[in-house]
Every structure is written in C-alpha cells, then in structure tokens.
Amino acid sequence: MTLLTSISIGVLYAAGAYMLLGRSLLRMVIGLALLGHATNLLVFTIANPVIGRPPLIEAGQKTLESPYSDPLPAALVLTAIVIGFGLISYTIVLLKRAYTSLETDQLDIITKGDLP
C-alpha cells in the first residue's frame, strides 16, 4: 500500500512539474492541480495506512495495538484538500479571466509586460 502510493506520488509530482513547465494556461492549471494531489497523497501516506486497522482501541484494552493508521494526517489532508480546492477554483477563474481579457493562452505573452 505504502509502496503503491509512494510510486503514485512520484509520478504525480513528475507529471505536475512537467505540466507546469509548459507554456499554456491550461497546462499550468492541470500542473498545479496534479502537484496539489501529489502533496495531499504524500500527507495521507504519512499516516502509514494499514487496511482494516482503524485507530480504535479494542474493548478491554488500554492502548492501540501496533499496526494502525494514524488519524491525524487524515484530518490534515482533509483541511489541505478543502483549501486546495478553493485555491484551484480561484486559479481557474483567474486564468479564465486572463484568457478572455488578454485573448491568449500563451504564458510568454501574458507575463511579458512584467519581465524586467
């Protein structure tokens, strides 16, 4: 499970970085979204998820038995997903505005006015 998620994190980061390096707005949004997913998955994997072992203390015992999923990263990742969702929605709207008002999707042209 951890191996599988680790590999997918790597693939997602690579794909996200590749998309961000593209020169078009659409690729950029997809790249940002992929990076976000990769990060969320990373935080999720930190919990060391074990199938069928919720972090519940069994009846009659005082402590958790060793292989269990840490619940805190799940809470963190939930917060991060919500925040990430809001930010990505904002970015999409922003890029849509930029696209319609500047009439191009090429980042070179969009940001050209700002390079020193």
Binding site: G36, A80, L94, R97, I110, T111
Partner: protein, 520 residues
C-alpha cells in the same frame, strides 16, 4: 483576540456589501480595536512575560496553541499599525466600485490571517493562516480586473501555490519523522534525529518560506504583481506579506531547525546577499515609482535575513561572544519594525502621487515639490530613512547589522550591504529628482481630489511620525529588540511556556545522537 475581531468585522462587511458607509465604519472599528488589543497583548508580554492560549481547551502538544512571545507581539503590533493605517487610507483612496465588491472584508481577513500566522504555535496551523492570507491577497490583487493586474496575478498565484504545496509537503514529512506539529514540541524532538535528517526536513519548509519572503532567486512573483493593485493594497502587501515569510524563517531556524546552524547560516547569508544586490539592481533599472519601491522590498528582505544569517553563523562558531548573535538578531528585528512602517508609508505616498497626477511613471512626473511641498517633505523623510541616513530610523537598524557583521568577522556581507545602501540612496534620489524636483510635466493631469486627500494625508503623516518616533526612541527600542533577540536565542523559554513540565514530556526510546546537543 486580534484574529477574531477582524474576522467578525469581515463577515459583517460581507453582509453589508452594498453599503459603503457601514462597511467603512465596521472596518475602522475593527482596525482600531484590534490595534488596541495588540498593544495590550504586547504590554502584557513585556510586563508579565509571554502568554499562551490553548484553543479548544486541549493542552499542548495535542491542541493548537497560540503564543504571544516578544517577537510575535512586536510583529502583531506592527501588523495592526499598518492595518489600521491602510483602513483609514482606504476611506479616501478607494473607489466605491472596489468597496462594493469586497475591499474592506478582504483587507480584514488578510490582516486576521497575518495576525494568526504571527501568533500560532503549530506548524499546520501556520499553513492554514498562510493559505487564508494567500487567498485574500489573491482576490485583493485582482479586484478590479484590469489586464495588467491579471498579468501580475498569474505569476503571483502560480508561484505562491507552488510554495504552499512545498510547505505542506514539508510539514507532512516533519510530522512523519517526529510525530508532532507543535513548534515547541518539534524543537525538542528534532534534536533526537540525526542532524542531517533534521536539516533535510528543514529544506522544503525553508524553501517555501523563502518564496513567501521573496528571497533570491525565488522573488520573481513580487515585482510582477506589487505595482498593479490599488496603492493602499500595495502598501499593505509591501508592509506585511513578505514579512510573514521572514518571521517564519526566523522562527523556524531559531526555534526548530537549530541543529546545523553553520550550514543553514551560510545558505541564508548567501541568499540574503544575492537578494540585496539583485533587488537593488532591479530598482536602479526601473522607471516607475511603485516598481522601484517593489524592488526595494526585495533588497531589504536581504537586510533582515542578513541579520539572521550572521546570527546563525556566529552561533555555530564555538567560543564566540554571545553578544554578537544577539546584536545581529537585534538588527534584524529593528530592521523589520522600521521597514514595515517606512515601506508602507512610501507606498501610501505613491498612492497620493497617483491621486494627484494620475500616474506613477517617473518620466511623466515632475515638479511635485513646488505644488505639494508637504508631500515632498514627507517623501524625502521616508526615503532617507529607508536609505539609512544617520539619525533616521533606517540608520539605527543598519548600524546594528553592520556592527554585528564586523564583529563576527563576516566582512563580505557587510561590504555588500553598504554597497546596496548606496544604490538604494541613488534610486531614491532618482525618484526625488524626477517626480518631485524640476518642472511639472506638460502632459500631466491636475486632478481636483481635495476631499480624498483630506483623509489620505493624515495617515501619511501618522506613519511618518511613527517612523520619526522609531528614530528618536532608538535606544529604548534597541532595548526592546535586544530582549526579543535574547528570547529568540534562548528558545528553551518558549518551549517551557508551551509544553507541560519537563518530567511529563515525551521521552525518546533511544538516546540522542552523540553529535547533537542535549535537548532542553
């Protein structure tokens, strides 16, 4: 709580989105009360020592704690000085069009987020405040939706989103290695790791904070965006946003990642030197008042981190006089305080110039000293204190930094900083000569804006007076900054404050590695 008041104010403002006057009233009320509360907190910190608040009643390290120590208190007060100034300035400086789409609630959420970031004692909570700050700043930046705002915002949003993801990944990995997110708890537990592992954990966090603080080579987003929004928003951003990054850098290196100070210190020194030089060169090259001021922010971030870098490097050397890192941090803290006030004021002045003449492009300005002598005087005063002319506030800040640098034997950075000072003076003189001196440009519009100036000028005056007070009361403020630096270096006080008594703390299964110091 200085976080709750503005948030309540912001929600009320959203409800009253169409009613400009009521929004203004709420904004002013929230700003002034928060400033009062922060002053009260700061007074409490100095009188009775730092205070904490465990939110939700969960004791640290399990719940999220808010901590007001000296650094947090100083930053909080500065935050609300700039915040209140910006709100008052908006009364005259903001078109009703912007007020109707949410200028005031966004400013309040931004200020609340910055206060939260200064006060929190939890790494993940810091991330949440950063995000709240980002989303408010994104919207404030693009409010109005002019094409050049959108241009700047595309760069700004992308880079900051990437920074947030790096931060989140860093925080996640830190949790994975240590099992805690509480900063004070982290400080203890990181010492049990191999120093190299701890430094590896620090890298994503420090990179993310550096992007937020606009360090070389990661500052591309700042000059692309800061000159585009309304002047008051630029002033708020210039005063606060990058400083949150600087605060996070200081906090994380001094409190948590102090395992390999030499390595981190070298990196910080190198980055700060390059930041200074490249920032000021950008300022020299540009020809628009607000763009020049934006580039100056970058070069001054370099100064603040120079203090941090010198301190870290000095702490790594065995047998060095403990006064040196203290002096360097004193300089950094003093510089932040001075910079926030002066820089925000310079942007506010550029807003007045814009209001008067309809442009901030230097080639189309001129003769403002003749038509508006008071404004010119205020600009001259602020610009000179930024450049660090003796007796003004910037001088005292730079004096401490340079002295610490020389005493620590780090002459390279001192030479660089003095050279940068000279260039700062040069580019400020460029603004002065072109905008204020000489004949008025024939094309420039004369706007009749007496009414809005009536509310804008007092704010500029107040900020100038505050910076004058900083200069006059320098010895007292040195003492304040010195005790702050002392507290930063001796992080055990912070840890003792947050965590339960020593005996009940988490103990590792294995002995700490030989190389690490014995944790407090």
């Amino acid at each position: 709580m200085p976080i709750l008041i503005p948030l309540i104010g912001a929600s009320l403002c959203v409800l009253l989105l169409g009613r400009r006057r009521l929004q203004e009233a709420i904004g002013v009320l929230a700003g002034v009360t928060s400033l009062g509360v922060s002053l009260w907190i700061a007074y409490g910190v100095w009188a009775d020592g730092p205070s904490t608040l465990a939110s939700g009643g969960w004791a640290a390290p399990f719940g999220i704690v808010f901590i007001a120590d000296r650094l947090s208190a100083i930053m909080l007060v500065l935050n609300w000085i700039v915040g209140a100034a910006a709100i008052f300035y908006s009364l005259g400086g903001t078109p009703t069009r912007l007020a109707r789409v949410g200028h005031y609630p966004l400013m309040l959420t931004l200020l609340a987020a910055v206060s939260g970031a200064f006060l929190t004692g939890d790494l993940f909570n810091l991330y949440v405040w950063f995000e709240l700050m980002l989303i408010s700043s994104f919207v404030l930046l693009t409010l109005g939706g002019r094409p050049d705002q959108l241009r700047g915002a595309v760069t700004y949003v992308t880079l900051n989103l990437v920074a947030s993801m790096i931060f989140l990944a860093g925080a996640g990995m830190t949790y994975a290695m240590t099992g805690t997110l509480n900063m004070a708890d982290l400080a203890g537990r990181l010492d049990y790791l191999e120093p190299m592992t701890a430094t590896l954990l620090a890298i994503p966090l420090l990179v993310a904070f550096s992007i937020k603080a606009a360090l070389f080579p990661l500052y591309g987003w700042l000059p692309a965006a800061y000159h585009t929004p309304p002047p008051v928003v630029s002033a708020l951003f210039a005063g606060l946003l990058t400083k949150v990054g600087v605060y996070a850098l200081i906090r994380s290196t001094m409190l948590m990642f102090d395992q390999e100070p030499l390595l981190v210190g070298n990196a910080v020194i190198l980055a700060s030197g390059l930041t200074m030089v490249s920032g000021v060169l950008g300022a020299v090259a540009h020809n628009d008042m607000r763009r020049i001021l934006s580039f100056h922010i970058i070069s001054q971030i370099g100064y603040m981190l120079m203090g941090l870098g010198i301190a870290l490097r000095a702490m790594a050397e065995p047998g060095i006089d403990p006064a040196i890192p203290e002096l360097a941090l004193l300089g950094a803290v003093f510089y932040i305080a001075h910079h926030i006030v002066v820089k925000a004021n310079l942007f506010l002045i550029s807003g007045v110039v814009y209001k008067l003449r309809g442009t901030t492009d230097l080639s189309r300005l001129g003769g403002l000293a003749r038509t508006n002598p008071v404004l010119a005087g205020l600009f001259f005063f602020s610009a000179m204190s930024l450049a660090g002319i003796p007796v003004l506030s910037g001088f005292w800040a730079k004096l401490a930094l340079v002295k610490a640098g020389i005493e620590a034997g780090q002459t390279e950075i001192v030479v660089a900083s003095l050279f940068v000072s000279l260039l700062t003076l040069f580019s400020m003189m460029k603004i002065w000569m072109k905008a204020f001196w000489g004949e008025p440009h024939p094309e420039q519009r004369r706007r009749a804006a007496k009414r809005s100036l009536r509310t804008m000028m007092p704010v500029v005056w107040c900020m100038a007076i505050i910076s004058a007070v900083v200069a006059i009361a320098a010895p007292q403020l040195y003492e304040i900054a010195r005790s702050t630096a002392e507290e930063l270096i001796d992080s055990s006080r912070y840890i003792d404050l947050v965590l339960p008594p020593e005996a009940e703390r988490w103990q590792p299964m294995v002995a700490p590695p030989e190389t690490g110091e014995v944790p407090p």
